[in-house]
Symmetry: C2
Subunit: 335 residues, 2 copies
C-alpha cells in the first residue's frame, strides 16, 4: 500500500474523507489507485494493459483492477463512492464509451467502458480521455491548482492535450476537442496519421524526434549519441536530451527545433483559448526544468504583449499519478 499525500490535508475543506477509484489506461500499462477527496493516493498499483488482445480484454483488465481496489477498501473498512476511467482516444463521456480508435489498442472503437465497470462496482462510473483527466488532475491537485483557464499537454510518443475551464473539462462538439497534438505548425508540413499535414505531434512527439535523429545518422550526420546507446534502436528522448546536454550538435539542433515548434504550437493554443497556465506533462517533461524553461521562453517570445506578464508555462507536478488522481477526483466531482 502506497500512501502519498499530494496536498497538505490542512488546506482542504471537507470534514470527512471520501474515496474514489481512478483508472488510467496507457498504451502499455493500466495504472490505478484509490484517491481521497483530500487528493491523497491511498492505494496504487499497475498491471500490463494487454492492449494487443483487443479493447474488450482491456476492459476485463480494468474490471480486475477496480475489483482489487474494492477489495482493498473493504479490508480497510471504507467505501468507494465512484470510479473514473481515463482512456486513450475519443471518449464519449456522457455515454461512457470509446468513439474512435487508439494507436496502441486493438479494436478499441465503440467499446463500452462505464457499463461493465459499474456492473462490477455498483457505483457511478465516469470515463474520459486520459489527457483530459491528466489536465483535470493537475488543476485539482497539481501545478494548475486554483487556475480558471488551464491547458494541459502530454508529451509522449504522441502529443495529447486537455482543456479545463472553470473546473470543467472542455470537450467540444462530439468530444472531439482538445486534440492539441494536431494543431498545425507547418501548413504544408509532414503528413500525419490523422489526415492533416504539419501537426505539432509530427515535430515534437517522441516518435518524431527519434525518427529525426535516426534519419540524420542514416544520412551520414555524426552524433555522439551513438556512444551513449548500444544501437540506433535504443535511441529515445532521454538519450537525445542527454546527448544535447553533453554538447552533441545533432541532438542539440533537434531539441532546439522541437522547442521552437512547441513554442509555435502553444502560442496558437494561447491565441485561441487565452489560458492562464499551460501544464506540460508526459514522459518528455522528464527532460527537466531547463527544457520547460526553454519552452516557456520560446512561447513567451511569441504570445501577444498583454499575455506575456501573466501566462504561466509549467511542468506537471503529479507526474505519472496525474491520470489516476484526475480520473478519481473528476468522478467524485460528478457524483
Amino acid at each position: 500500500m502506497a500512501s502519498i499525500p499530494i496536498q497538505n490535508a490542512v488546506t482542504a475543506q471537507p470534514a470527512e474523507r471520501e474515496y474514489v477509484i481512478g483508472l488510467d489506461l496507457g498504451g502499455t500499462n493500466l495504472k490505478y489507485g484509490i484517491i481521497s477527496n483530500f487528493g491523497e493516493i491511498v492505494y496504487k498499483n499497475f498491471v500490463p494493459a494487454e492492449t494487443q488482445k483487443g479493447g474488450r480484454r482491456v476492459i476485463d483488465v480494468m474490471k480486475q483492477a477496480a475489483y482489487e481496489c474494492l477489495m482493498f477498501s473493504k479490508k480497510e473498512n471504507f467505501s468507494i463512492k465512484a470510479i473514473g476511467a481515463g482512456c486513450p482516444g475519443t471518449i464519449d463521456s456522457v455515454n461512457g464509451r470509446s468513439l474512435g480508435p487508439a494507436p496502441h489498442i486493438v479494436e478499441w472503437e465503440g467499446v463500452e467502458i462505464t457499463k461493465p465497470l459499474s456492473e462490477i462496482a455498483r457505483v457511478p462510473v465516469f470515463a474520459d480521455n486520459d489527457a483530459n483527466f491528466m489536465t483535470y488532475g493537475e488543476t485539482a491537485w497539481g501545478a494548475a491548482r486554483g487556475f480558471r483557464y488551464v491547458v494541459g499537454l502530454t508529451l509522449g510518443t504522441g502529443v495529447g492535450g486537455g482543456i479545463v475551464i472553470d473546473g470543467s473539462i472542455y470537450h467540444g462538439h462530439l468530444f472531439n476537442g482538445a486534440e492539441l497534438g494536431h494543431v498545425v505548425v507547418e501548413a504544408d508540413g509532414r503528413p500525419c496519421a490523422c489526415g492533416n499535414h504539419g501537426c505539432l505531434e509530427k515535430y515534437v512527439g517522441a516518435h518524431a524526434i527519434v525518427r529525426d535523429i535516426i534519419d540524420a545518422i542514416d544520412h551520414g550526420t555524426k552524433s555522439s549519441i551513438m556512444e551513449l546507446v548500444q544501437s540506433k534502436n535504443d535511441i529515445n528522448p532521454a538519450w537525445i536530451f542527454k546527448a544535447a546536454e553533453l554538447g552533441d550538435e545533432l541532438c542539440t539542433r533537434i531539441v532546439n527545433q522541437m522547442i521552437q515548434y512547441l513554442g509555435a504550437g502553444i502560442s496558437s493554443m494561447v491565441n485561441v483559448l487565452s489560458p492562464e497556465i499551460v501544464v506540460i506533462g508526459g514522459g518528455m517533461s522528464d527532460a527537466g526544468d531547463d527544457f520547460i524553461a526553454k519552452v516557456r521562453e520560446e512561447t513567451l517570445s511569441r504570445v501577444m504583449k498583454p499575455v506575456k506578464p501573466h501566462l504561466k508555462i509549467v511542468r506537471a507536478k503529479l507526474g505519472n499519478d496525474a491520470g489516476i488522481v484526475g480520473a478519481g477526483t473528476w468522478a467524485l466531482k460528478k457524483t
Copy 2:
C-alpha cells in the same frame, strides 16, 4: 428608416417587442442601429468614426449615434432597453473599456466605452470585441443559429475571430482569447506585428495577399490583374479574386495559397475547440460561395475523421449587419 426582418418573427418566442441599440465600430465607419428581440433591424445608419482623431473622439461619435437612436425610439414611441458596443482590439467586457491598441484608432488603449454611453442613455451598456459580436450575431440570428459550438472568422484587412459556446461569448483569461488571426500556420514564417511568426493573418489577410501580388509583379511576374486596375495601388482582394476567376496565373496561385493556409488555420481551431460550425464573414467572404466551398474542401481534407461528417464551414449570413445585430442582441441577453 430601414426595416429589415432578419428572421421570420413566427419562429421567435417572446410575446412583446423589446428594442436595443447596437454599435459596431470599424476602422473607417461606425455602424449603428436599433435591433428588436425578434432579430429585426428597425433603424440603421453609419457615420465616419473619425478614428484618426483619437479614442476619446471616437467615443463622442458613438454617443452621438446612440443619441440619434434614442431620438428615433422616442419619436416612434418605444423604449430602448440596453446598448451593445462592438469595438476593435482587446475589450474588457466586465468593466467596459479598451485594454489594448487597435490598428486603425489613435490612442485607443485604456479608453472607457460603456460609462460615457450609459451616462447619455441611462440604460445598461455592454462592450465587447467586434469579431466576438459578429460571431454572436451570426449565432443568434444568422448562419450559426441553433448551434452550440461556434467559431467566427472575419476576413478583412486583418483576420478577426470570435468563439461562442452554449450561447455565450468565450473570452479566455483577461479577454485575450479568440485571437484567431494569430493562430500560427508556419512556425518559422513571416513576422507579425503581434510579435509572433507565421500568423494566419500574415498569409490570408487582405493586406497580406495584396502585398503578395504587388511583390510578385515588382519581381517581374506577369499578371492580367494590371489590365483590370489603373495602378498597383488599386489592387484589392475583389480584383484578385476576379483576375483569378478570369484565369490569371499569379492571382490563381495566391488565392489557392490563401485557401491552403485558411484550411490549415481553421483545422487547428477545429482540433482545439471542435466547433460544430465555422462562420466566415468580413469583406473577403464577399469573394463568394465558390471561395467558401474551396475553404470548406481544404479544411475538411485536414480535420480528423470523426469530425468530417459533421463540421459545417459556411459564409456569414448577416453580412455587414452581424456586428450591430450581435451587439444589440448580446446587450438584451445580458440585461
